[in-house]
């Protein structure tokens, strides 16, 4: 059975303007790889309702799971929750379960309850909350779409909360070998080797170090023994 597929939607002008270098994509890619969910596509869109709604609908229809990051805080530019509600035609308002979590947290810290703060309890009617041990304000899942915060520490905590709920597959395993020869020299034998192992994916990532051209060959797949066999043949093709 093939692994479940996934997409990620990163929401935020700060990524597209170059202010912030995305960290969440890299984190999520690694976590999904470990549990055998194949991340097939990532999209980054700006804080624009039409763009968010269109992307969520497209990705939700095309993949088994969709993970979003960004846009669920209390400020005016946080529009993700309302966009998700629109995309799935659900009613959205401050929801009791989310408000109770936040009010309990704020009461314990002497924080005033304001309308702005309560925006973080706006959750679509049909959503399941995602636990946020870092700053309490929850994420949520609607269908196959999991809506999480953009702040990396909170995003990572929410991913940890949601992953146990999901059905994984065979973890993607990989081994790599650095070959101090140019890709032009490696390409022919590597193509033949890749042809012998259609179940594996072989990637070639060139580098230049101290004036020497080389490439890291990465062999990926779910069958560890098969990767071992292919790596042995690769090492024989290109002795150090």
């Amino acid at each position: 059975m093939p692994n479940p597929t996934a997409a990620m939607l990163v929401i935020g002008d700060e990524i597209l303007s170059g202010r912030t270098r995305d960290a969440n994509m890299y984190f999520l890619a690694n976590e999904l790889t470990k549990i055998g969910i194949d991340l097939k596509e990532v999209r980054v869109v700006s804080d624009d309702a039409k763009a968010i709604i269109k992307a969520v609908k497209a990705l939700s229809a095309a993949y088994d799971e969709v993970f979003t990051s960004g846009g669920i805080g209390p400020t005016h530019d946080d529009i993700t929750a309302d966009c998700i509600a629109k995309a799935f035609d659900q009613h959205i308002d401050v929801r009791d379960d989310a408000r109770d979590l936040l009010v309990a947290h704020w009461n314990g810290r002497g924080v005033e309850i304001t309308e702005a703060r309560l925006r973080m309890a706006r959750i679509p009617d049909g959503a399941t909350l995602i636990d946020n041990p870092v700053s309490i304000a929850p994420g949520f899942s609607v269908g196959n779409v999991h809506v999480m915060a953009g702040v990396p520490s909170v995003f990572e905590a929410m991913v940890a909360s949601i992953l146990p709920r999901l059905t994984g597959g065979k973890p993607l395993l990989s081994q790599s070998l650095r070959i101090d020869r140019g890709e032009g020299e490696i390409a022919g034998p590597l193509r033949a080797l890749a042809g012998d192992y259609p179940e594996l994916s072989m990637g070639s990532y060139p580098y230049q170090r101290d004036g020497i051209y080389g490439a890291t060959i990465v062999i990926r797949g779910s069958d560890g023994a098969m990767i071992d066999a292919a790596m042995t043949r690769l090492a024989e093709l290109f002795p150090a």
Copy 2:
């Protein structure tokens, strides 16, 4: 007149598997911001012909300029050039101008000319070459799609080659202010301020430092004087 719009397509299993953290998106976003081309969307897809062709067609139709990174080397997993040719229904083969560049470079360095190496001269018939001063193998443009390498040093050199050809707009300017108060406290006054300046975009990026919750407020737009005025009001709203 609104600024030209752009999208980026990152091609590569190594990003989606979490092996490599993307650097090219961050670089391109900053370069486009400087010259007033608005990066509106980024997609990351795997080394899969169908996925690449579909994404290139969609982005080319939706935005003024499209920049791709990855998949133009000599190895079997480098399929971007052929996918672009298919997407635009163009013939592709080793092209004389690209081959001449490479052969002159290789002759000077005593590198053998092989079929695998010549794959890097496969260029669609209707394409314009993009200069690569780092490793010579060129990128190319077909219509509004600019096809570049994934290796960051080469990608950056190709971006430098292509940018002077493009029509920019008003550079996106920004100023930021760090406010050591929680977003819940900032949100109300900030929303009102944003409402007074519909031409500007105001983003709030929360942080937690030494146990203190705060947010960096970023005000973006093309009118420097207007940003100055808004920043003055922001600083008055939240005195240090």
